[in-house]
């Protein structure tokens, strides 16, 4: 389908056509009969209606470090330093990745979809990658390539090519790179056969080698967050109840052994550089979720700690900054989402974009800065 300014209108018309306001015979009578005989809500329903779990109301048992654990932790740090030195001596430079360009989607009302841009982390040198709309861009590990649903392109938008798409009703959506960049793991859905809805793996070169990794549950979709930096697991979100929001899950790289991490609703996320936590958005707020304990720790803007409406967080490649979206008041009761970045302690907030429309899911790569 080409870029369609008519999609919104067509969507409204389709919904109007599908909408069926017919009142079934006896429907109102049954309701009125129920109303006439129910003066009090059963206790279990009242309890259900007041039951809601928010991140701020969650309580986790504190993790108390014993002297033995402290010694073990110190030994681990020493061992890590030794390993780092050995790697460096072996001729392989050991340094964290450098922070490069940020890729993001800016909503284009004419196309009813996001158009991709890259920008330096200070907001300079904005570059539009493609004329058409694409969603959820992700940098490859080496910062040279970008994947969007069903496609791969170079970091400057050139070399765009579609990956082979599965035939039939299976639809592949947002994808993440494997650490070796050989495969992409994407969200897949098939309404005709829900057993095919889950994470799928495909070759990044041509889209071949299609393989299902997980099967989603409760009518939701499994949506990939990313591979652990060491490739030992993949994080994704999954609905654990039909009416519930997505939760944070890990699985082995082949999709086996899925397990929930913590007890938190997650809308987006990104692995920390050390692989020990995942930065997530939950109900308009940011948290790091410790993998081992599942404990969330709030990340707030130091100058406005109560501010909500933060989202789409991503770590900088060197792990020293956090990229996120923040709603900015543009007057007339309207807001728009812009990209910001800050230190993990919430200080040194820098505005990255100031576009005319909402700027959304972004990924911070190692592609060299433009000067």
């Amino acid at each position: 389908m080409n870029t369609s300014p008519d999609l919104e209108r067509a969507l409204r018309a389709t919904l109007d056509g599908l909408a069926d306001r017919t009142v079934v015979d006896g429907q109102l009578d049954a309701i009125f009969d129920h109303v006439a005989h129910r003066r009090q809500r059963p206790a279990w329903r009242a309890a259900l209606r007041t039951l809601s779990v928010t991140p701020t109301s969650m309580r986790f048992p504190p993790i108390v470090a014993s002297p033995g654990w402290k010694m073990l932790a110190v030994a681990g740090v020493i061992l890590a330093l030794i390993l780092a030195t050995l790697l460096a001596v072996g001729g392989r430079p050991f340094s964290p990745p450098t922070n490069g360009r940020i890729v993001f989607g800016r909503w284009d009302p004419a196309q009813n979809g996001p158009v991709l841009y890259t920008v330096n982390p200070d907001g300079s040198h904005l570059l539009q990658l493609r004329p058409e709309a694409h969603a959820c861009p992700r940098w490859s590990t080496d910062g040279r390539l970008i994947t969007t649903p069903g496609a791969v392109m170079n970091g400057d938008g050139t070399g765009f090519h579609l990956l082979a798409n599965p035939t039939g009703p299976l639809t592949l959506f947002c994808g993440v790179w494997s650490p070796d960049q050989q495969t992409i793991v994407a969200e897949g859905s098939n309404d005709s056969d829900p057993s095919q809805t889950g994470l799928w793996s495909l070759r990044s070169s041509d889209g071949g080698g299609l393989r299902q990794l997980t099967t989603s549950t409760n009518g939701g979709h499994d949506i990939p967050i990313g591979f652990a930096p060491d490739g030992s697991s993949i994080a994704f979100t999954r609905a654990v109840t039909p009416q519930g929001g997505p939760r944070l899950f890990l699985a082995d790289p082949d999709g086996t052994n899925p397990r929930e991490v913590g007890d938190i609703q997650v809308d987006a996320g990104d692995w920390a550089l050390d692989g020990r936590s995942i930065l997530v958005e939950s109900a308009g707020r940011l948290y790091t979720v410790d993998i081992a304990s599942g404990t969330p720790k709030a990340i707030v803007i130091a100058s406005s700690p109560d501010e909500g409406d933060l989202g789409n967080p991503a770590w900088s490649p060197d792990g020293t900054r956090i990229l996120f979206t923040r709603l900015v008041d543009v007057g007339g009761g309207q807001t728009k989402a812009n990209l910001f970045q800050m230190r993990p302690d919430g200080t040194d907030v820098i505005r990255v974009t100031n576009g005319p429309e909402d700027d959304y899911p972004a990924d911070w790569g190692t592609s060299p800065l433009v000067n």
Partner: protein, 185 residues
């Protein structure tokens, strides 16, 4: 929506509530059928929503917000019935075949509408809810966010994601020649 009816119903006037329910039930049915995609469960959701509304009406502080308040109860009821169903809710909507000759423009329009319907059906119940609130009920984002009880930013993210998911689904369909890709490519 008649404010006086809401005030009377809130005070316990069952006839007033009956008039409100009668005036609202068509819209509620339409919204529930779009979200749940199953007529029987949609009726259950509307039933639960109106009974809950009667039981909770005393807690409604702003009578002028009755419709928005009722929408919120209905959305929760839809999610409840989906949970009780315990499986993915979907329904094949039968399309009446047309035997009348149609113009290319109408063919294009029908093909696009069919694709949108298929794409809409593939969305999750949460994504369908977001789209119904914004594109069927025409709620401003702030009201849609309030209906779902989420921040406006989260609502924007969800709408963005729902539309891009729908779009990806349309693009996938357009690559299948049998679905009329020649009209849509």
């Amino acid at each position: 929506m008649d404010r006086d009816l809401v005030v009377r119903a809130r005070a316990g006037d069952r006839d007033a509530f009956s008039q409100l329910a009668t005036a609202s039930i068509g819209r509620l049915n339409a919204v529930a059928r779009l979200i749940v995609r199953d007529d029987g469960r949609a009726e259950d959701a509307v039933h639960d929503a109106l009974v809950d509304a009667w039981l909770d009406l005393r807690a409604l502080r702003e009578p002028d917000r009755f419709d928005a308040w009722l929408n919120r109860i209905l959305v929760h009821a839809c999610q409840d019935v989906a949970r009780r169903a315990g499986r993915r809710v979907r329904l094949e909507i039968p399309l009446e075949p047309t035997h009348e000759p149609v113009s290319p423009d109408i063919q294009y329009s029908n093909a696009l509408s069919d694709q949108i319907e298929r794409g809409f059906r593939r969305l999750t119940i949460d994504q369908r809810t977001v789209i119904v609130l914004v594109y069927y009920l025409d709620l401003p984002l702030t009201d849609a966010a309030a209906t779902l009880g989420v921040p406006v930013g989260t609502m924007k993210s969800r709408l963005n994601r729902s539309l891009t998911a729908l779009r990806a689904s349309l693009e996938a369909d357009a690559r299948i020649p049998s679905l009329g890709a020649e009209h849509l490519a």
